[in-house]
C-alpha cells in the first residue's frame, strides 16, 4: 500500500511517500493511523491527534472510519487550505 503525506503531516513523518504492508487487523483509515503511529517518533507526532487529520483513499476524500478495502494509495494530511 502506498502512503502519501502532505503539509505538516509530511514534515513530521519526515517523508512524503512510503510503502507499507499493514496487518490484516488494520481495516479502516483510523486503524491505519493508529498502526502507523507506532512506526517512528515522527509518525507518532504527526498522527497523535486523529481529529486534526483528513484522508483520501485512491485520490478520493474519505472519512477516517472509511474501510481500506483494496486501497492502493492512502493519503493522510491536515484539512485543506487552498484557494
Amino acid at each position: 500500500m502506498d502512503l502519501l503525506y502532505f503539509a505538516w503531516v509530511r514534515e513530521a513523518v519526515g517523508v512524503g511517500h512510503e510503502t507499507v504492508d499493514p496487518p490484516e487487523a488494520v481495516r479502516d483509515v483510523a486503524d491505519l493511523v493508529r498502526w502507523l503511529a507506532t512506526r517512528s517518533p515522527g509518525h507518532a507526532a504527526a498522527l497523535a491527534d486523529p481529529a486534526r487529520l483528513r484522508a483520501a483513499i485512491d485520490q478520493r476524500f474519505v472519512p477516517l472510519d472509511a474501510p481500506l478495502g483494496d486501497a492502493r494509495e492512502v493519503a493522510l494530511f491536515p484539512p485543506v487550505t487552498g484557494g
Partner: protein, 146 residues
C-alpha cells in the same frame, strides 16, 4: 467548456477572461485570490496532491456545469512559492445571464476551499507556518449543499 490548470507559473487574466467571453456568454464572473502581504507575510507556498488535484477541480467544474446553465468554467490554481500581490487562484464562469455566472463563481471558490487538496504555508522571512482552515470556509461550502 471546462479548463482546469495547476501550474507554478503566474496566472494571466486577460486571455482567460477573453476565452470565457468568446463562448457566446452574456455574462462572465470571476474571482481572483491574491497573496496578502499583511501580518508580515513575505511569501506564500502552496503544496498540492499531484494527481488528485486536477481530478478534484474537474469534478467541481462538472458539478457547477450540471447545476447551472454555463457556457464555460475556468479554474486555475497556482502552486509553489509566490510573493505578496501575486495571484493564487482564478475562477471564471460564463453564462447567458449574470445570475448563473455569479452564483457558479461563488460556488466554485467556496467549494474549492474545502474540496481540493491544497495546503498553504505562510513565510515570514525564514520562518514558515502552515495555515489553519477557517471555520467560515466549511460554513460557506455547506450553504451549497441544498
Amino acid at each position: 467548456m471546462i479548463r482546469v490548470s495547476i501550474d507554478p507559473a503566474p496566472i494571466e487574466l486577460a486571455l482567460e477572461l477573453a476565452a470565457l467571453e468568446a463562448r457566446g456568454a452574456g455574462g462572465v464572473a470571476s474571482f481572483t485570490g491574491v497573496v496578502r502581504g499583511d501580518g508580515g507575510v513575505t511569501a506564500l507556498e502552496l503544496e498540492h496532491y499531484l494527481g488528485m488535484t486536477e481530478d478534484a477541480l474537474c469534478t467541481l467544474a462538472e458539478a457547477a456545469m450540471a447545476r447551472w446553465s454555463l457556457f464555460g468554467v475556468t479554474i486555475l490554481h497556482r502552486v509553489g512559492r509566490m510573493g505578496a500581490g501575486e495571484r493564487i487562484v482564478f475562477i471564471g464562469t460564463a453564462a447567458a445571464h449574470r445570475r448563473e455566472a455569479l452564483d457558479a463563481c461563488a460556488y466554485l471558490i467556496d467549494r474549492l476551499k474545502t474540496d481540493a487538496p491544497f495546503w498553504k504555508r505562510e513565510w515570514r522571512g525564514d520562518s514558515a507556518t502552515w495555515v489553519e482552515p477557517r471555520s467560515s470556509d466549511a460554513e460557506a461550502a455547506e450553504r451549497w449543499q441544498a
